[in-house]
C-alpha cells in the first residue's frame, strides 16, 4: 500500500496530454514491469476465469485465490521465497478440494460448499498463525493481501510469463474436451471423455493461475480478474470463441487502464482493477438488456444458462 500511495507524488502529475502522459507512464522501469506482469496476468486469468465462470466454480476459484495468502505467509515465516509459497498454498488447496467428489454438473451441493468454505477458513486461519509466529510484518501483510503491482522485479516477470505460457498450453490441450464436459457432463462421459480427470486437471490449473495472479494483485483481489472479465464477456455473446476472446480483451483493457490511472492517483491499483472490472460487467449486462428489449425477436442467449 505504501508504494502505491507514493507514486502520485513521485510523478509530475497528469497533464491531459496523451503523448506526454504515456511517455511519463513508461519512464520508470517499475511501471514497465507492472505493465508486462499485468498483461500476462490479465490474459491467463481471463482464459482460466472464462472456464471457471462457465463451470460455475466461482466459489472454488475464490477459495484457491485466497488460500495463496497462507502459503506465502508460511513461506516467509520459514524463510523461503513467497513465490514458492503462493504456488504450494493454492495447489495444496486444489488437491484437497479435488478429493471431494463433485455431484454432477450442477451447482455444488451444500455439503461440498461446506467443505470448500471450511478449507478456505482454515487455510486463512493458518495464514494468521504464520503471521503471528513470524511476528509483525504488517506492511508486507497488506502487500500479500492487496497486492504490490508496482514492485514487480524482472525475474518475477519472467517467472510469471513462463507459468502463464504453461497454463495456456495446458488449457489449449484440454480446452475442447473440458468445454464438452462442462456443457454436458453426461453426454461427454458417455462419449468416453474423462470428465473426472479433466475436472481435477482444471482445478490444478485454476490453483496455479490463482497463485500466479495473487503475486501481483494480492490474494484478496485475484478473484476480480478471474470472474469479472469472463462474466462481462459471457453477457455479450453466446459463441464460445468470441466470448473467450472478449474475456481476454476486457481483462487487458481493465488491467492497463487501472495501472495507468493508479499511476496518477494516490489510491491503490486493486481498487481501480475491481472498479473498472465491475463497470465492464455492468456495461455488458446493460448492453444485453437493451439488446433484448429492442430486438425482442432474437433474444441473446446467455452462455452459462445455455450450458446448464
Amino acid at each position: 500500500m505504501g508504494t502505491d500511495g507514493m507514486t502520485g507524488h513521485l510523478t509530475g502529475g497528469l497533464q491531459w496530454n496523451l503523448g506526454n502522459d504515456t511517455r511519463q507512464l513508461f519512464a520508470y522501469h517499475f511501471m514497465v514491469n507492472a505493465f508486462r506482469a499485468g498483461t500476462v496476468v490479465a490474459v491467463v486469468a481471463g482464459a482460466v476465469g472464462w472456464f471457471m465462470v462457465l463451470r460455475r466454480q466461482s466459489f472454488v476459484g475464490h477459495t484457491l485465490a485466497v488460500v495463496s495468502f497462507p502459503g506465502a505467509a508460511g513461506a516467509i515465516w520459514l524463510g523461503l521465497s513467497a513465490t514458492l509459497g503462493f504456488f504450494v498454498g493454492s495447489l495444496a488447496a486444489a488437491v484437497v478440494i479435488a478429493l471431494v467428489p463433485r455431484s454432477g454438473s450442477g451447482s455444488p451441493s451444500s455439503e461440498e460448499s461446506a467443505v470448500i468454505g471450511t478449507v478456505q477458513a482454515f487455510a486463512l486461519a493458518c495464514g494468521v498463525l504464520f503471521v503471528s509466529l513470524y511476528g509483525g510484518f504488517l506492511d508486507s501483510l497488506t502487500g500479500l493481501l492487496f497486492g504490490t503491482f508496482l514492485g514487480v522485479s524482472d525475474r518475477q516477470v519472467v517467472t510469471l510469463a513462463l507459468v502463464g505460457v504453461a497454463m495456456l498450453v495446458v488449457l489449449g490441450c484440454i480446452g475442447r474436451p473440458l468445454f464438452f464436459a462442462t456443457v454436458d457432463a453426461d453426454v461427454a462421459a458417455a462419449r468416453r471423455v474423462p470428465v473426472r480427470v479433466l475436472s481435477v486437471v482444471f482445478l490444478l490449473v485454476l490453483g496455479c493461475t490463482a497463485a500466479e495472479v495473487s503475486q501481483i494483485t494480492g490474494a484478496l483481489l485475484v478473484f476480480a480478474l478471474l470472474v469479472m472479465p469472463a462474466a462481462a464477456a459471457q453477457q455479450l455473446t453466446a459463441r464460445p470463441i468470441w466470448s473467450l476472446a472478449a474475456t481476454m480483451v476486457i481483462g487487458l483493457v481493465v488491467t492497463w487502464l487501472a495501472l495507468a490511472v493508479a499511476y496518477f492517483s494516490i489510491y491503490p491499483v486493486g481498487f481501480y482493477v475491481t472498479t473498472f472490472g465491475f463497470a465492464a460487467y455492468l456495461l455488458a449486462a446493460g448492453f444485453r438488456w437493451v439488446a433484448n428489449r429492442s430486438g425482442s425477436r432474437r433474444r441473446l442467449p446467455v452462455m452459462g444458462v445455455a450450458a446448464a
Partner: protein
C-alpha cells in the same frame, strides 16, 4: 501448561483475567448465533453468500474507520444492506455465483480503497492504524472491552431468539420451498428475515474471528452437524454446540500456547470437528454397506436353503 496439568485450577486461573472473561462472554454468544445460523446457511446452500458477506464486512468496517464513525455502524450497516441485496437478487434475478462474485470482488476493491484512505489520512498516529485493518480482517477477541463484550452477547442473544422463533417454518422452507409455499408458509418473507439475521451474525462474528475467518464459523459447525445426523433439529443445535465448544477450546488454546492467535485456535478446533465428522460418516457408510451386503447374502442363502429343504 497449567491448563493441561490441572484443569480446574487452570480454568479458575484463566477466569481471573478480565480480558479472558470478556472474550468468553462475547465468544460464546457469537459462537452460538453463528452455529445456529450456519446450520441454515449450509442447509440452504448459501455458503458462498457467507463468503461474500465476510468481505463486505471488511469493507463496511474500514469505510466506517475511514470516515471516522463507529466501526460497528459500518460493519452492521454493510452486512445487512448486502444481505438484503442478495436476498432481493436471489428472488428476482436468480443471482448465480457469477453475479455474487462480481459484486463482492468490487466491494473488496472498495475495501482496499478505504484501507488506503484510512492509513494515509491517519499516518501520524503510528502503529495503531496498521493494526486496525488487520484486526478487522483477523479478529481481536482478546481485545474487547466490557461494554463491547456485553453488547456482542446481547446482539447474539437477540439473533438466537429470533432464529429459534422462525426455526420451524424456515426449516420447512429450506428443505422443500415449493411444498412449504403451497402450505401457506411465507417463504419470501422468511428468506428476507433469514438474510437479515445472517447479516447481523456476520457483523458480530467479524469482531470475534475477523472478516476473513467468519466463513469457518458459519460453514464448519453447520457442515459437521449435517454429516453427523440426518435429523434437522438435532443438527441445528449440534451445530450451535460445536461452534461454542470450538470457541471455548480455541480461546483456551490461544491462552495456553504463546503466539497462537485466538482466531486460529477457534478455526483449528472447528475444522478438527468437521474432519472428525466427515471421517465418522464415511466409516458409518462403509460399515452399513458391508452389513447390508452380509445381510442380503445371508437372507439369500437362507431363502435358498428354504427352497432346498422343501
Amino acid at each position: 501448561m497449567l491448563l493441561l496439568v490441572s484443569p480446574v485450577t487452570g480454568i479458575a486461573h484463566l477466569l481471573e483475567h478480565p480480558f479472558f472473561r470478556y472474550a468468553l462472554l462475547a465468544g460464546t454468544g457469537i459462537a452460538l448465533a453463528s452455529g445456529l445460523v450456519g446450520s441454515f446457511v449450509v442447509r440452504r446452500g448459501q455458503v458462498f453468500t457467507g463468503d461474500a458477506l465476510s468481505h463486505v464486512a471488511f469493507t463496511g468496517a474500514l469505510a466506517a474507520l475511514a470516515f471516522g464513525i463507529d466501526l460497528r455502524v459500518g460493519l452492521y450497516g454493510a452486512c445487512i444492506v448486502f444481505a438484503l441485496l442478495m436476498a432481493f437478487l436471489g428472488q428476482r434475478a436468480r443471482a448465480d455465483d457469477t453475479v455474487i462474485g462480481s459484486v463482492f470482488a468490487w466491494v473488496l476493491g472498495l475495501g482496499a480503497l478505504f484501507l488506503s484512505i484510512y492509513t494515509t489520512s491517519r499516518s501520524g498516529t503510528g502503529g495503531l492504524t496498521g493494526n486496525a485493518g488487520v484486526s478487522v480482517l483477523f479478529g481481536s477477541l482478546f481485545g474487547l472491552s466490557a461494554d463491547q463484550a456485553v453488547a456482542a452477547a446481547a446482539v447474539s442473544a437477540a439473533v438466537v431468539i429470533a432464529l429459534v422463533a422462525i426455526a420451524r417454518p424456515l426449516l420447512f422452507a429450506s428443505i422443500d420451498e415449493a411444498v412449504a409455499s403451497a402450505r401457506g408458509v411465507p417463504v419470501r418473507l422468511l428468506g428476507y428475515a433469514f438474510f437479515i439475521l445472517l447479516g447481523i451474525t456476520a457483523g458480530e462474528a467479524t469482531q470475534a474471528v475477523g472478516a476473513l475467518l467468519l466463513l469457518g464459523l458459519l460453514a464448519a459447525p453447520g457442515g459437521a452437524a449435517q454429516r453427523i445426523t440426518p435429523r434437522p433439529f438435532v443438527a441445528l443445535w449440534l451445530s450451535g454446540g460445536i461452534a461454542v465448544v470450538s470457541v471455548w477450546a480455541g480461546l483456551a488454546l490461544a491462552y495456553a500456547v504463546p503466539n497462537v492467535p485466538p482466531s486460529f485456535g477457534i478455526l483449528a478446533v472447528a475444522t478438527g470437528c468437521y474432519v472428525v465428522a466427515v471421517g465418522a460418516s464415511a466409516l458409518r457408510v462403509a460399515r452399513r454397506r458391508r452389513t447390508h451386503q452380509v445381510g442380503t447374502a445371508s437372507a439369500a442363502s437362507t431363502a435358498r436353503m428354504g427352497i432346498e429343504t422343501t
